[in-house]
C-alpha cells in the first residue's frame, strides 16, 4: 500500500519523525534511529564551546544519505531568536526545513502563540519550509496554515511528559479543519499513545523522550514504528462501531442440545 506523507516538497514513506536528544549514548541513538524506520530526525542548534571548538557535532552520528535532518529552534523565547536560529540552521545544514519552536517558559515549554505566529510569518517570507510546534489550539493552527506553514505540529502533552494524547478532541478538531499535514509533536510516552494519535487521523508523529528515555530505546523505537503503522492502518481500515451491549461472534442458533431439561 503506497501511503506517503507529503510535507511541502518533501515526501516520506515513514510517518514517524524522531529526535536526537537524551539518549544514553550515540550508539543507542543510532540503533533506535535504525529500529524506528524514521526518515527524518530533529537536531537542535547551539553555540559551539570555544574551549573545545574542534569536537564532534551531532552531524557525525547521522547518516544523511538515509535521514533528512529537521533542525529546530528549541530554546528560543521570541521570534527574533527563532528567526536567527533558523537562518543559521539553514546555512549549516543546507536545508530549508525548520521546526519552529518558540516557547513561553521553561517549566511548561508551552509555545508562545504570538511570537510563534510572528516568526512563522517571517520564516515563510524568507523561503523556509516551516513546521511550527504549537499548542492544541485550532485557531492558532489555522492561522499558521494561513501564513503558509507546510504543516502544523500540535502537542499531545507537554514536551517530555509522556502523558500521551491528553485531549483527543482538540487534536481531532485540528485535523478535521487543517489543509496541511498535522504532525503530533511532544507528549507520546508509549506505543499505544502513538496508535491513539494516528487513529485520530493525524498525518505523522514526532517524538523524542518516549523512545530515548525508555529502558531499551531501540526496542521502544521498534514498538513506535509498529504503533504508528497500526494506528495509521486502523484509521484507514475504518473501525467497527462501539456498542454498550454484547454482540455474539458465534451464531446463537443451531446450538448443541443435551438431555438435560433446560
Amino acid at each position: 500500500m503506497s501511503d506517503l506523507l507529503h510535507v511541502g516538497r518533501y515526501e516520506f514513506s515513514s510517518r514517524l519523525i524522531v529526535g536526537t536528544g537524551k539518549y544514553p549514548s550515540m550508539e543507542a541513538m543510532q540503533a533506535a534511529h535504525e529500529a524506528s524506520g524514521a526518515q527524518m530526525v530533529t537536531v537542535a542548534i547551539r553555540r559551539i564551546d570555544l574551549g573545545n571548538a574542534s569536537g564532534n557535532t551531532m552531524l557525525d552520528y547521522i547518516d544523511r544519505s538515509k535521514l533528512t535532518i529537521l533542525p529546530n529552534t528549541a530554546g528560543c523565547y521570541n521570534a527574533n531568536e527563532a528567526v536567527l536560529t533558523a537562518h543559521l540552521a539553514r546555512e549549516l545544514l543546507e536545508t530549508d526545513l525548520i521546526k519552529l519552536e518558540v516557547i513561553g517558559d521553561a517549566a511548561t515549554l508551552h509555545p508562545d502563540v504570538r511570537e510563534t505566529l510572528d516568526a512563522a510569518e517571517r520564516l515563510v517570507r524568507d523561503g523556509f519550509t516551516v513546521l511550527p510546534y504549537v499548542g492544541d489550539d485550532p485557531i492558532a493552527c489555522k492561522q499558521l496554515e494561513d501564513l503558509g506553514c507546510a504543516a502544523v505540529m500540535p502537542l499531545a502533552a507537554p514536551i517530555g511528559s509522556g502523558l500521551g494524547v491528553c485531549n483527543p478532541y482538540s487534536i481531532r478538531i485540528i485535523k478535521e479543519r487543517a489543509g496541511v499535514p498535522v504532525i503530533v509533536d511532544a507528549g507520546v510516552g508509549t506505543a499505544s499513545d502513538a496508535a491513539i494519535a494516528m487513529e485520530l487521523g493525524v498525518d505523522a508523529l514526532l517524538m523524542n523522550t518516549g523512545i530515548a528515555a525508555a529502558r531499551d530505546p531501540a526496542l521502544m523505537a521498534s514498538a513506535m514504528k509498529h504503533a504508528v503503522l497500526a494506528g495509521r492502518q486502523a484509521y484507514l481500515a475504518g473501525r467497527m462501531e462501539k456498542r454498550l451491549y454484547a454482540n455474539a461472534s458465534s451464531p446463537m442458533r443451531d446450538l448443541v442440545g443435551t438431555g438435560q431439561v433446560g
Binding site: 529526535g19 536526537t20 536528544g21 537524551k22 539518549y23 541513538m29 530533529t42 537536531v43 537542535a44 542548534i45 547551539r46 553555540r47 559551539i48 570555544l50 571548538a53 574542534s54 557535532t57 551531532m58 552531524l59 535532518i69 533542525p71 529546530n72 528549541a74 527574533n80 536567527l84 536560529t85 537562518h87 543559521l88 540552521a89 539553514r90 546555512e91 549549516l92 545544514l93 514536551i159 517530555g160 511532544a186 514526532l206 517524538m207 523524542n208 523522550t209 530515548a212
Partner: protein, 66 residues
Amino acid sequence: MKATINGQPSEFPDGLTVGALLERLGTPRAGVAVARNDRVVRRAEYDLHALADGDRIEIIKAVAGG
C-alpha cells in the same frame, strides 16, 4: 579590536576575517555556521570581510535535540 564571540568579549588583531577566526579556534568550517550582528555570514564570504570593532559573532553547531 574587540568583539563578542558567543557572548564572550574577546580581543583580536585588526583585519581578522571569520575564516581566520575559525582557524584560530580550530573549528572545521563544515560543522558550524556563523552570524555577525544577527545576520548569517554565508560560507562563501568567510574570507572576504574583516570583523569590525564591537561585532557580535555567533558560532553554532548541531547538537542533540527533539
